[in-house]
């Protein structure tokens, strides 16, 4: 039973969070995790009306590093250039990472470029 939907926390009142999963309708959700760490605007996963985790976008780089490692190992095993293989993964993830970085730092140029 892992079916969960991403949603944005819109307000927290009386120990209950009101979340919007993307259709503009606010729904109440029980805060299953530490309430002190939750803020309005957070991206969370909601499972059967329970907030089970906060999504941490800064970890996307860890995912990319894991794929890069695999791509490099793969290339080395067939005698290709590992750095070129790593570059392919980096290029695929570049826009994603840049976007996350820009959004986190509040800069807007990247969004303008992609809009």
């Amino acid at each position: 039973m892992c079916w969960a939907v991403p949603a944005v926390v819109k307000r927290i009142e009386g120990g209950v969070a009101y979340i919007d999963p993307g259709d503009g309708v606010e729904r109440p959700a029980v805060i299953g995790i530490d309430e002190k760490e939750l803020q309005t605007g957070d991206l969370v996963m909601v499972h059967a009306g329970v907030i089970i985790t906060k999504v941490d976008l800064s970890t996307l780089k860890e995912s990319m590093d894991m794929w890069k490692q695999m791509a490099m190992e793969l290339a080395a095993s067939v005698g290709e250039d590992p750095n070129a293989a790593a570059k392919v993964v980096e290029e695929e993830m570049w826009r994603v990472l840049k976007l996350v970085e820009e959004v986190k730092s509040g800069r807007s140029e990247a969004l303008k470029e992609l809009a």
């Binding site: 120990g15 109440p28 530490d34 009306g49 095993s77 695929e92 800069r107």
Partner: protein
């Protein structure tokens, strides 16, 4: 000509930008609204996230090649051995079947890896006894709240002619669908009639029940029929069973449930990895997540390792959520629990502690709880849901699958929920069906 941008610009209320605190002053068009969902920043974050794990085809190709490389190396070690990887969670099975990952691996020439569905669907494993008890209460005038996928779940014995809560409702009982426990709480406060919540689930829903109780949100007329089950003991059981069958290869690796692990943490799977000596990867639910998990499991198998690794780093921490764990253990205690068609698995369920018995539907309505002596095999004749649940059989091995048992008229519990293995295969066609069709029409 109107574009979305020009329309937004036209109807932009004056001063709106200044209402959003997260917004930089120099923000470009289209203008953001104060509504967080429609906020451009938030939308971009969601799109970025989805793209990273679903549509990056070069990364997917790298992962498939990586899997093929290790699969070939493993073939050299033992040409006939089949490495069975269990995707424990129903949602992982959904990803695998919906995105055709079995077919992707088959087309890539990976012959010695088999993805096996596990027991990760709480609707499938809730004993019929509790369903019958809930139907009986419904006919006695108690309001029964339930999740949507329990609504059509068939019981083994009819109650007043009804085989499911849906049929009970059709016969006049007051059965109400609730998306969440909180919706039932809000609704029950309005009518003040005696009510129960049919509370199935795994560790993911448990903090929802415990927090609602601890925060005093639950009205006195609403009681919880708590049926929460725990996943690690079920995984032990499924893996143990897979070893006990001499005709089958044992499970060589596990893709552990991502969202259950947000609560219990990656650490909860260490005993599994150590006891069975197999790799366990906690994975997310996008296709690249699952392929990464398969690739990592094969890499560990080739190198003779058996570690727990979290692939789903964006949501899961090693220690899990300590607040949720403490909330669950305050309200619930661990007990032996019955799994439908399987029987009792030790320490695999949660029950309300003595201090919280005022919320207990069993206590209040005098329903005797199931015991190992009273538990009876509760699947219909011919139905192989129990074997499908623990990965011993595929849905296509069942004589009823898509003949007598369909999504419209389910006979076994695995055909009901969106996470039931049979329901997923019925909807998207599992087991290499797409490859067979492709071959027939000359595409493969």
């Amino acid at each position: 000509m109107f574009t979305v941008k020009s329309l937004l610009k036209r109807y932009r209320p004056a001063g709106m930008a200044s209402q959003c605190l997260s917004l930089p002053d120099s923000f470009p068009d289209p203008p953001p609204s104060v509504d967080c969902w429609n906020c451009t920043i938030m939308k971009k974050e969601m799109t970025a996230l989805e793209f990273a794990f679903r549509r990056k085809t070069k990364i997917t190709a790298t992962l498939v090649n990586y899997i093929r490389k290790y699969s070939e190396e493993l073939v050299q070690g033992d040409p006939h051995y089949i490495y069975r990887i269990m995707d424990f969670c129903g949602t992982h099975e959904w990803t695998i079947v919906h995105f055709g990952l079995r077919n992707v691996l088959e087309m890539a020439g990976v012959k010695n890896v088999e993805l096996v569905a596990g027991p990760g669907c709480p609707v499938c494993v809730t004993p019929s006894y509790y369903l019958e008890a809930a139907m009986k209460l419904a006919f006695e005038g108690v309001v029964v709240y339930t999740y949507g996928d329990v609504f059509k779940l068939p019981a083994i014995r009819r109650v007043n002619g009804a085989r499911s809560l849906a049929e009970a409702k059709a016969l006049g009982a007051d059965v109400r669908l609730a998306h969440t426990f909180l919706h039932a709480v809000i609704d029950a406060k309005k009518h003040n009639k005696p009510s129960i919540f049919f509370g199935i689930g795994f560790e993911t829903v448990a903090p929802g029940y415990s927090e609602a109780i601890l925060k005093g949100l639950v009205p006195p007329n609403l009681r919880l029929m708590n049926l929460v089950k725990l996943t690690p003991p079920a995984m032990f059981y499924a893996l143990e069973t897979s070893r006990g069958n001499p005709r089958d290869y044992p499970v060589s690796g596990v893709i552990a449930p991502g969202h259950v692990s947000t609560i219990i943490g990656g650490k909860a799977w260490v005993p599994v990895a150590e006891h069975f000596g197999i790799p366990v990867v906690v994975a997310g639910f996008e296709p690249n997540d699952v392929l990464t998990a398969v690739a990592e499991i094969l890499r560990q198998l080739k190198n003779g390792e058996h570690k727990v690794l979290i692939e789903y780093v964006r949501a899961v921490k090693w220690e899990g959520d300590l607040k949720a764990q403490s909330s669950i253990s305050t309200v619930f205690e661990t007990v032996d629990s019955a799994w439908r068609g399987i029987g009792y698995i030790p320490k695999s369920g949660l029950a309300l502690r003595d201090g919280f018995k005022q919320y207990d539907a069993f206590e209040h309505f005098g329903i005797p709880d199931l015991t190992p002596e009273r538990w009876q095999y509760d699947l219909p004749p011919g139905c192989r849901c129990a074997e499908v649940t623990i990965g011993k059989a595929k849905p296509t091995d069942c004589p009823l699958f898509m003949k007598a048992c369909t999504r419209d008229r389910p006979i076994g519990p695995c055909m009901v929920s969106v996470e039931g293995t049979c329901a997923i295969w019925a909807r998207f066609g599992g087991g290499g069906l797409a490859t067979e069709i492709a071959k027939e029409v000359g595409l493969a």
